[in-house]
Point group: C2
Chain length 256, copies 2
C-alpha cells in the first residue's frame, strides 16, 4: 500500500481536484484507491458523491480523535475501485482539539497502519494550511504530491511547503519523499503559465511531473455532478491529462 499526501498551504491550487481525479484514473487502471479527506471543507467527500448523512456517521474524525478503526469508516463510491474515508462536520474542531492530545502529530499514521486496508494506493486530501491536520497527513505518508497553480502568488508559497516536508522528514517521518510537483490550471494562452513552468523546471528539475494539467472547464463542472471528470467527460482534455499523470506515476513506480 502506497500512501500519498496531496498538500499545499496555498488555497485553491487543485489539491482536491488532484486527489479525486488522479485517484479515479488509477482506479480505472485497476488499482484499488482509497481517498482520506482530511479537509474540514469536505470537498473531496462531496466531489465523489458521498451523502452528507453517511459522512456524518462515517468520517475520519471518528478515528483520528475518536476510537474507531479507519477500516470501519471506508465508504464505497459509485466509481469502481475508488472508496473514501469522508470528512465530517466535527473535523473543523479537530485542529484545536489535537493540540492537547498525546501523539498529536502521528495519530493518523497509527490508524492507517493499524489494520490492513483493502487499497493499493491511498491519497490524503489536505486543507490549505500547515496545521496539525496536514502534519498528520505528512507523518502518515510515504510521499507528497504538491499541486501548484501556474500563478505568481502560488509560486511564493512553494518554498514553505517544501520546507515543511523537510521538517517532517527529519523529525517525524524519515522515509517521506516528494512524489512530485504538479502544475495545474495551466493556460497555454497566457505568458505567466509558461514563465512559471520554465522557472520551475529550471530550479526543481525532475521532481516536476512531465504531465501538466490544463485549465479545463469540464474539470470545474464535474464536482457539481458528484463524479470525477473521467466519469463526467472522459474525452475532455482534463480527464485525458489526469489519466496521463496516472500512467506517468505507474511507470515511475515500476522502474524502482
Amino acid at each position: 500500500m502506497k500512501v500519498i499526501a496531496v498538500a499545499n498551504q496555498k488555497g485553491g491550487v487543485g489539491k482536491t481536484t488532484t486527489a479525486v481525479n488522479l485517484g479515479a484514473s488509477l482506479a480505472i487502471l485497476e488499482k484499488k484507491v482509497l481517498i482520506v479527506d482530511m479537509d474540514p471543507q469536505g470537498n473531496a467527500t462531496s466531489y465523489v458523491g458521498v451523502d452528507p448523512e453517511v459522512a456524518r456517521e462515517n468520517n475520519v474524525y471518528r478515528s483520528l480523535i475518536g476510537d474507531r478503526p479507519l477500516k470501519d469508516l471506508v465508504v464505497k463510491t459509485s466509481f469502481p475501485n475508488l472508496s473514501i474515508v469522508p470528512a465530517g462536520p466535527d473535523l473543523a474542531g479537530a485542529e484545536v482539539e489535537l493540540v492537547d492530545l498525546e501523539r498529536r502529530e502521528t495519530r493518523l499514521r497509527a490508524r492507517l497502519y493499524e489494520f490492513p486496508l483493502d487499497a493499493d494506493v491511498v491519497f490524503i486530501d489536505c486543507p490549505p494550511s500547515l496545521g496539525l491536520l496536514t502534519i498528520n497527513a505528512l507523518s502518515a505518508a510515504h510521499s507528497v504530491i504538491v499541486p501548484l497553480q501556474c500563478e505568481y502568488l502560488a509560486m511564493e508559497g512553494l518554498g514553505r511547503i517544501l520546507e515543511t516536508i523537510e521538517m517532517v522528514r527529519s523529525s517525524l517521518n524519515p522515509s517521506l519523499d516528494v512524489e512530485g510537483v504538479l502544475l495545474t490550471m495551466f493556460d497555454g494562452r497566457n505568458n505567466l503559465s509558461h514563465q512559471v513552468e520554465e522557472e520551475l523546471r529550471k530550479h526543481l528539475g525532475s521532481i516536476v511531473f512531465d504531465t501538466v494539467i490544463p485549465r479545463n472547464v469540464r474539470i470545474s463542472e464535474s464536482p457539481s455532478f458528484g463524479r470525477p471528470v473521467l466519469m463526467y467527460a472522459y474525452s475532455s482534455r482534463g480527464a485525458v491529462k489526469y489519466l496521463e499523470l496516472a500512467e506517468e506515476l505507474l511507470e515511475k513506480w515500476q522502474k524502482r
Copy 2:
C-alpha cells in the same frame, strides 16, 4: 474608522486580491486605507511590495502575541494612502500559540482600538481557514466581505462562512454585519459562472454586490510586480471593476 474582514475558508477565491485591490481603489478615491495581513502565507504583504526584511521586524504577530501596539507596526507602501501591517514568519505558529492564551479570540480587536490609527478603512486579509486567526479578524471587524469564486466547490463552503459570521455575531461581536458577497473570477464564456451568479442573487438578494470581478490575466500578473493592478494596468477590466466596487461601497456608506 471602518474595519472590514475579507474572509472565506475556501482557498484561492480572491481574498488577498480583493483586500489589496479594493484597498488601493479606495486609496485612489482619497480614503486612507490600512491592510492588516493575518495570513501566515503573507501574500498581501508581498503583493504591495513590502521587503521581507521589513516584515520580519514589523508584523502583526508582534502585536497579536507580542506586546507592541499595532500603530508602531504600520508600514507605508509605494501606493499613496495605502499602508499595511505585514504578516511575518512567526504568524504560522500563532494559530497554535493562541489556543492557550487569555482572550484568545479578541486580541486583535483590543489592539486595533487601543490607539488611534491614521486610517479611514481597514481591510483584514484572512487565511483560508476558520481558525483563531480568522476568528480574531471577525471579532475585530464591523463587517465582512466574502469573496466567492464562480465555481461549484466554492459555493459549497458559503454556508459555513455565513454560519461562522453568525456565530461570532451572537457570541463575540454583536455589531458584525455582512458587507457583501463578491463574485470573483467570473468568466462570461462559461455557463458555470452564469449559473452561480443567478443562483446566488436568487438566494441571497441584495447582499451580493452589483459589481462582479471578471477573470482577468492582468490581475494575476500584478503581484509579481509588487503592485496593485491599478498601478500595473490601470485600464484593464480587472482594475476598472475593483474601482467600480470601491464606488459601490462608498455610495452604500453615504446612503446610511
